[in-house]
């Protein structure tokens, strides 16, 4: 029974309800923020927005790539010769970053393939199609420069070593993916087939990376990315890192340009189909190469 001014002081359910509602409000705010993030990410992935952003980014990317290459090449020839390899060590400054970029390009393609298969996003299709020839070119550089280094150091241009063989397999996978893109005419069907093959082929990336640890190989083990830290002297490590940055920037720059080309190619194809369906005779003037995706 309550007497006079005595009022019940409830700290139980009512305060718990207040805390609960505050938590719900915070959760709602959180979801809204996530929703906004998703919206902005989707907006960035829109091909039209990509073209606008690419136009603004490309001059900066070209500038930074040229600067990084100039600095990296200076470092390559300013670095001291190796006590065992002599001047031949300079090949490493173009060989190792090519290998890293080749694996980076494939990893990027695998992520795009996932985006292509899960979200069916056309930009994901374009990004993986654009990355394949670039990745193949970097793998080719890695193989050829490695051969030129191997001849004076190992006495052979090529040995069927686990690392060399797995990189050759990577190159063949790249060629296979490029061929598959050309084989299927419909871009969305081609993207699905290529995405599956890309994800299956991704198994080769850890094999390339860890082949020198898993098997007894002629190729030397990892000397930069190691648990114990880098085994390379600082005067030789920094030019290597700058060259790796230059290669990565070149890949990003060329990739942005190639994605832009791919978006334009798809627009040309769509326009050509629309005009052909409308019975435009002028479409006959275009070569099949221009219309083909």
């Amino acid at each position: 029974m309550l007497i006079g001014s005595q009022t019940p002081q409830w700290h139980g359910p009512s305060s718990r309800a207040a805390v609960g509602s505050e938590r719900i409000r915070r959760l709602q705010v959180g979801f809204e923020e996530i929703g906004n993030l998703k919206l902005s990410f989707t907006a960035y992935c829109n091909p039209g927005n990509f073209l606008r952003i690419a136009a603004k980014l490309l001059p900066w990317l070209w500038g930074s790539t040229a600067f990084a290459f100039a600095l990296g090449l200076f470092g390559t020839f300013a670095a001291p010769p190796d006590y065992q390899q002599g001047e031949t060590v300079r090949i490493m400054y173009i060989h190792v970053p090519a290998a890293w970029t080749a694996m980076l390009a494939y990893t990027f393609m695998a992520v795009s393939a996932l985006g292509s298969l899960v979200w069916r996003h056309p930009l994901a299709d374009a990004t993986q199609k654009a990355a394949a020839p670039l990745g193949a070119a970097f793998t080719f550089i890695c193989l050829v420069t490695g051969s030129f280094w191997g001849r004076p150091m190992w006495g052979a241009y090529w040995v069927w070593d686990a690392r060399l063989t797995s990189v050759l397999v990577l190159f063949l996978i790249y060629l296979g993916l490029i061929a598959l893109w050309q084989t299927i005419e419909d871009p969305s069907r081609a993207a699905r087939a290529v995405s599956i093959m890309t994800l299956v082929g991704f198994i080769n990336i850890p094999i390339v990376k860890f082949s020198v640890d898993w098997w007894n190989t002629l190729h030397q083990p990892a000397s930069v990315f190691r648990m114990e830290g880098s085994a390379i002297a600082g005067s030789m490590l920094w030019p290597l890192i700058i060259m790796a940055l230059a290669y990565t920037l070149l890949f990003v720059t060329l990739h942005v340009m190639a994605v832009r080309n791919e978006i334009m190619r798809r627009r040309v194809r769509r326009l050509a189909i629309t005009l052909a369906a409308a019975g435009e005779p002028a479409i006959a003037r275009m070569s099949s190469a221009e219309v083909a995706s």
Partner: protein, 51 residues
């Protein structure tokens, strides 16, 4: 004379050629696509730029 200089020069030449080739290929492709797209848009659009 640098020991194994020929291999070093060959490696740098191949790398430079491949990188330059990549850049040229992407630029030529851009030119082709841009010209084709412009050709299609100019020849088949109305005064408001619609196809």
């Amino acid at each position: 004379m640098v020991q194994h200089g020929g291999f070093i020069v060959a490696a740098f030449l191949v790398t430079g050629t491949v990188l330059a080739g990549m850049i040229a290929a992407v630029l030529i492709d851009y030119r082709v696509q841009h010209r084709t797209l412009r050709h299609l848009l100019l020849d088949h659009s109305d005064s408001r730029g619609r196809i």
